[in-house]
Symmetry: C2
Subunit: 441 residues, 2 copies
């Protein structure tokens, strides 16, 4: 197992931002994820920041204080001054790594930069976020074999796992325009469904509203149309990861999805967390990729000796629900499931390599979804469809409320984090989204 | 039947650009399609132009000569000076209509503007084109019931036309990054396929390369996330139409497409024609939408009394192939098929309305494909898969060459035009693309 760790990973590093050192924050000095923010409710331009403890460091202001003086050039200055991360992503991971190294030094206890930087910090509690990047194309994969099998059972009882699954990292194109950042609220979609035993479709608000807990992947440097990205270079094209809620209307999906896949069942909204955690920050939490002895070896173009041992990421994924009533009663969001990204059958590198093997070009800021991350145990399922066995087994909460699918006013919250003996806990923050009632017909 | 015709449609109008009056051009003064061009091989910025006869009128220069003086404002000046059509599309169809009216006057025989405009014309023979707009999202529909049925027979002999087809305008998301303009050349894609009777997949260049003849739809003004676009407003959100070749690798498609639809079989390249023909220019060529007596009536949200009579467009669609050998021998491209967009089961307005019924937002410059336009007769099929019955029936050309699928070096050319008693012929120009050999493995 070969994973490159550098100085920025050192578990003993502490920051002069004291909230970064409490051992509970998602954002210790070893994380330093990138995002786009402004003061909430202001008319400021959105700008690039890095999360540290419960604060945000504005990279334009950090640049003015000279934090990046040894690596600065015109392209980097342009990229850091932008209102989205695309230009920075396009500079490649060596640049992002140099920025993280400079920030790691500037934010350490005792750093001379503290005096200049401390007044520029914005509390996360006072911030609002935008999408980290302009997403040119969004592709959603289907990398959890546990999800594919249990959903397959519901849609195709005779044929749950299709013959291509263990050979092809199945993916399909999604909708960019309706991707929003945490806090997104959206109306229950309206559409066609075919009720059981009916002979003509119904039209109205979707009844089987669901979430899907996914890991999102932001592409860094792209590739030229016609060129493929090999496995051993794939992660150099990944800027970082975030959380993704791929909201789904199951009754719309069941009626529309053949033969060309999900469409209106998914494209009304997708919500992502605001912070992009770099693969560099995640280096201590790598694992061997998940394969059973009976599974076929990947075809050579999807195989790589080093990544067999390190291709997966040990990231805990938690999903919580908070109803309108819970909010009114001051009851916290209730956990629905806890799973782990390491159960994924296909890895991030395999997604990138497969996507480009035919010459398809990825661009900086393009976005990949991992597909619903369900683990092997039923309680690790990443969607209500699975947790309630297709709506047959309600989830009962401590306040007496029950759910089989999402109801109007419900919030879904997802959190992700990694921790390991000898390394600090780092996290993704959270992605929250809320379902509003359907528009009137 | 109610179709709004105005002065710009008058069949007797003639232009001082004499090539616009020959009765054969795609671009008489009644057409005036929008595109983005520059002098071929130059380093000029791409700019917005309108085709007239065999020439292009540069709209920035037309603006400077005062052609749009009565409708000019800062937003329009900004939109006309851009290097893509998105800002103009976003101004809405009333603005595009006002521009066409002003151009119709300025380009007429005897127009005083001739002296100022004539020196600014660029011959189409000297031009190169870029994508008309930045395409945020690309959605491909499946509107030809003849295509759906005949392809369905090949992929699912027991179940050719799925039960949802006549209720749901089936669509799925496509890839924006690999869409190119006419002249696009691309390498044969490499990927996984499952040969007949094999138990493990093969890896290598795709063997069953195909085209799909489609009509493309550019969205004009968009809608807000959560709002739907009703049928009677749908065409106000369509800027215009072009031609689309949705290249397809059938052997990749057959192995990968279940359960989430085509992915790598399609996203290596898609090629569109450079000129966007407005719905206003197409007004004389409308027809009743295609329904048999036995077909179900559309659900109310997809129905509209006026569009039942006028929702379809009578656009001839021709596909031609030219092999490397034909080019060397000076043999022209050979016709593969001739069909008509009026055979489409679902209309442009139904595509827009269905796409947004769940609240999905469309943005100016978004692109919809109609899906392969096959007519009812076998020789009207819009793909080789259909014309050769899945590769079983070769097409034999006059020079002795045969094809079942596309070979390296082949060009596919598509043309589209509309003509009618009492109205001039207008056309789309052509979209040409060429398959190059696969990259070496």
């Amino acid at each position: 197992m070969s994973v490159q760790l550098n100085e920025t990973h050192h578990p003993a590093l502490r920051s002069w931002v004291v909230s970064a050192n409490d051992g509970k924050t998602d954002f210790p000095i070893q994380n330093l994820p990138f995002g786009v923010f402004r003061r909430a409710g202001s008319s400021e331009h959105f700008r690039i920041g890095v999360a540290i403890g419960d604060q945000i460091l504005d990279l334009t202001l950090a640049q003015q204080v000279g934090v990046f003086s040894t690596i600065m050039d015109a392209r980097l200055a342009h990229a850091l001054g932008a209102s989205q991360l695309n230009a920075l992503m396009d500079l490649g991971n060596a640049t992002a790594s140099a920025i993280r190294a400079a920030l790691s030094h500037a934010l350490r206890e005792g750093a001379p930069a503290q005096a200049g930087l401390q007044p520029t910090l914005v509390a996360q509690a006072d911030a609002e976020y935008a999408l980290p990047a302009q997403i040119g194309d969004y592709t959603d994969f289907y990398t959890s074999v546990h999800h594919a099998t249990s959903v397959g059972k519901l849609f195709r009882p005779d044929n749950p796992l299709l013959p291509n699954y263990k050979w092809v990292p199945i993916g399909y194109h999604g909708r960019s325009s309706s991707i929003g950042v945490s806090g997104q609220q959206f109306r229950r979609p309206i559409g066609q469904t075919m009720p059981p035993n009916a002979s003509t479709p119904s039209f109205g608000p979707a009844k089987r509203m669901d979430y899907e807990c996914e890991v999102g992947v932001f592409i860094g440097q792209g590739n030229t149309l016609g060129d493929a990205i090999a496995m051993d270079e794939a992660e150099q094209h990944v800027f970082g990861l975030c959380l993704l809620n791929d909201w789904s209307a199951r009754d719309v999906q069941g009626w529309e999805y053949q033969p060309l896949g999900p469409f209106l069942a998914k494209n009304f909204a997708s919500t992502i967390s605001p912070w992009v955690v770099t693969l560099e920050a995640l280096a201590p939490y790598r694992k061997a990729w998940a394969r059973d002895a009976a599974d076929p070896q990947p075809l050579p173009y999807l195989d790589n000796a080093n990544l067999r041992d390190t291709g997966a990421f040990d990231i805990e994924l938690e999903v919580l629900l908070q109803t309108e009533k819970m909010r009114q009663e001051g009851m916290p969001a209730q956990r629905l499931s806890l799973s782990n990204f390491a159960h994924s059958y296909w890895t991030v590198a395999q997604m990138v390599t497969h996507h480009t093997v035919n010459g398809c070009n990825l661009r900086a800021g393009d976005f990949l979804g991992s597909g619903t991350q369900s683990g092997p145990a039923p309680e690790e399922a990443g969607s209500l469809l699975e947790l309630t066995e297709g709506g047959k087994k309600p989830i009962v909460f401590a306040n007496g409320e029950q759910r089989i699918f999402i109801e109007d006013g419900d919030s879904i919250i997802m959190r992700g984090w990694a921790q390991k003996e000898g390394a600090p806990r780092i996290g993704f923050g959270e992605v929250e989204g809320r379902l509003l009632p359907a528009r009137s017909l």
